[in-house]
């Protein structure tokens, strides 16, 4: 693996609420290599979005973030807000889930893409407009010269998400963080967007973090996958390895819940519910729902162990087959 572009160590995020602290992310460490596509998978509320938003300080002020996040020679978590502002959108760009509402209705899309260019790269209005047309072309919007002058309400959801991606790519960022970029879209449009992301990685060499709850999406495009559960990393592996030899019972459960055409067996759900993040147990968070749980799981937090090259799992009883 080449030198890590982003290296996160012991990232923890707490939210101070009236009912006490909520631990959204607990000591998460990971790295992202150049040109890598990293999939981050987990249920709603497992901390996958929060951990990446915390890196750019996009969370509300009630969030308490600790840990280190080395990006180049800078610790993102210790950087000044002014410094971060020059990184946001310039070096690390975000694409959010809601394409329908993420564009300002008062301006044309060209104007909005151009704004990012003018701010970060100091382009003139005319150059920014010309570059916006190129970007719309890059994200495969037909008739970009005309679309660039249109308002968001004139575009469909898929096109708006393409505009959002164009805006994120405007300054040629090193990392593109896409938070559920396809969740709000039709399946056919979804495939188009994923195809586009793959193309972007090939052509621009942008490292991509794909946050999703859809294992199918990850299998399609990611190089490496992190599975998160209740704010902790449960398993991390190269994508083929994860699908061929899942180790963590949670991962196995997730894969069992993916529908496969032709299979006659019933979809397996994971029993129980996601634990409340208010009181993270000093134990394996998955233990209450886990068929393999024993006294050890219920009394200690499992540390990550490398079971295969590049394949780490936080479980006392890892293994590919359910007992």
């Amino acid at each position: 693996m080449s030198a890590a572009l982003l290296e996160v160590e012991d990232l923890s995020v707490r939210f101070a609420t009236d009912d006490g602290d909520v631990h959204a992310v607990d000591r998460l460490s990971f790295s992202l290599a150049e040109r890598e596509v990293l999939g981050v998978v987990g249920e709603s509320g497992c901390g996958k979005s929060v951990s990446f938003m915390s890196l750019l300080r996009l969370l509300p002020e009630t969030a308490v973030v600790s840990g280190r996040a080395r990006f180049g020679d800078l610790d993102l978590l210790a950087a000044s807000t002014a410094r971060l502002r020059r990184i946001r959108g310039r070096e690390i760009a975000f694409v959010f889930q809601e394409p329908m509402t993420s564009l300002n209705p008062a301006f044309t899309v060209g104007n909005q893409i151009g704004e990012v260019l003018r701010r970060h790269l100091g382009l003139s209005r005319r150059d920014a407009q010309a570059r916006a047309v190129e970007l719309l072309d890059l994200v495969r919007i037909p008739a970009p010269a005309r679309r660039v002058k249109e308002y968001p309400h004139q575009l469909s959801g898929g096109m708006r998400q393409r505009v959002m991606i164009a805006m994120a790519l405007a300054c040629d960022p090193k990392i593109l963080i896409a938070d559920e970029p396809t969740t709000a879209l039709d399946v056919t449009i979804q495939a188009g967007i994923l195809d586009l992301m793959r193309d972007i990685r090939e052509r621009l060499g942008t490292a991509i973090v794909l946050i999703t709850h859809n294992l199918g999406v990850v299998a399609d495009i990611a190089d490496r996958v992190i599975v998160m559960y209740a704010g902790r990393k449960a398993e991390e592996a190269p994508v083929h390895d994860l699908y061929a030899r899942p180790q963590h019972p949670y991962t196995i459960g997730l894969l069992g819940a993916v529908p496969r055409p032709g299979a006659s067996r019933r979809l397996q759900e994971i029993p129980g519910r996601v634990p409340s993040l208010a009181q993270l147990p000093e134990a394996c968070a998955f233990a209450p729902r886990c068929p393999r749980a024993d006294d050890l799981s219920r009394s200690q937090v499992p540390e990550l162990r490398e079971v295969l090259p590049g394949h780490r799992v936080a479980c006392f009883h890892p293994g590919p087959t359910p007992p």
Binding site: G89, F96, S102
Partner: protein, 292 residues
Amino acid sequence: MSFVEVSPVVTPRARRRKILRRRFLRRPLAVAGLAVALAFVVAAIFAPWVAPYSSSATDFDHVLSHSSGKHLLGTDELGRDVLSRIVWGARASIEAGVLSTLLAMAFAVPIGLVAGFFRGWADTVIARLTDVLLAFPFLITAVGLSAIFGPSLTNATLALGIAAAPALIRIARGEALALREEDYVRAAVANGAGDLRIIARHVLPNMTSTLIVQATVLIPTAIIGEAVLSFLGLGVQPPTPSWGVMLSDAQSYLTQAPRLAVYPGLAIFLCSLSFNLLGDGLRDILDPRTTR
């Protein structure tokens, strides 16, 4: 995917304008409001050319006369032409109405916007203060303030502007509170925009339609307010004509020439009604839920 081809000369902005114009024209009351309001504004601006006589020219041969070819709306107790005085009076009304609204906007919008956008203790203080000020009726505040400032049109305008501000602060704050939570604001932050840029590009432009509607509602209120203040002797001072002053003067001749009170009263009524109808129409067409 297929696209409906649009002729390239029609830019989206022009098309949107066309849609808005069509929606507006489909509302006869709004069109009438616009026409009458415009007529008053034109009369006010071009008073020296529109009015048949000077507002202070006396014609002692025709004192308290009825309508005639020479004096369309008759004359008052000093033989001054009533129509001319109404035209000249429109100046005071429009000036007070428009300027006080602009004044209120000029300081209420920034205050409300900053309070709603940045929140914090300053917001709490501003919000509670406006609540306190809103407990006083608009006209009471305006009368009280102009009593302090002293009688003149400028002071009356100032008083009306200040009295109108709390309601506007609340509206601007409410809008800012809602807009700061928009996804596009979040996206702008993630793209590296600072607070000032977010306010200038994402918050303010998206509250302008609300503010425009609010302004058209505020103008008639201020016009009535000006009439009230002038009637009470706190606004325009005689002999300068104002509808409020005319009403006040008419009191002494109410039994002999009630028309002296009717005409300026009608002017106030028509002028504020027209701005209100215009405001209603604007609110309807600028509301994104309107489809017609």
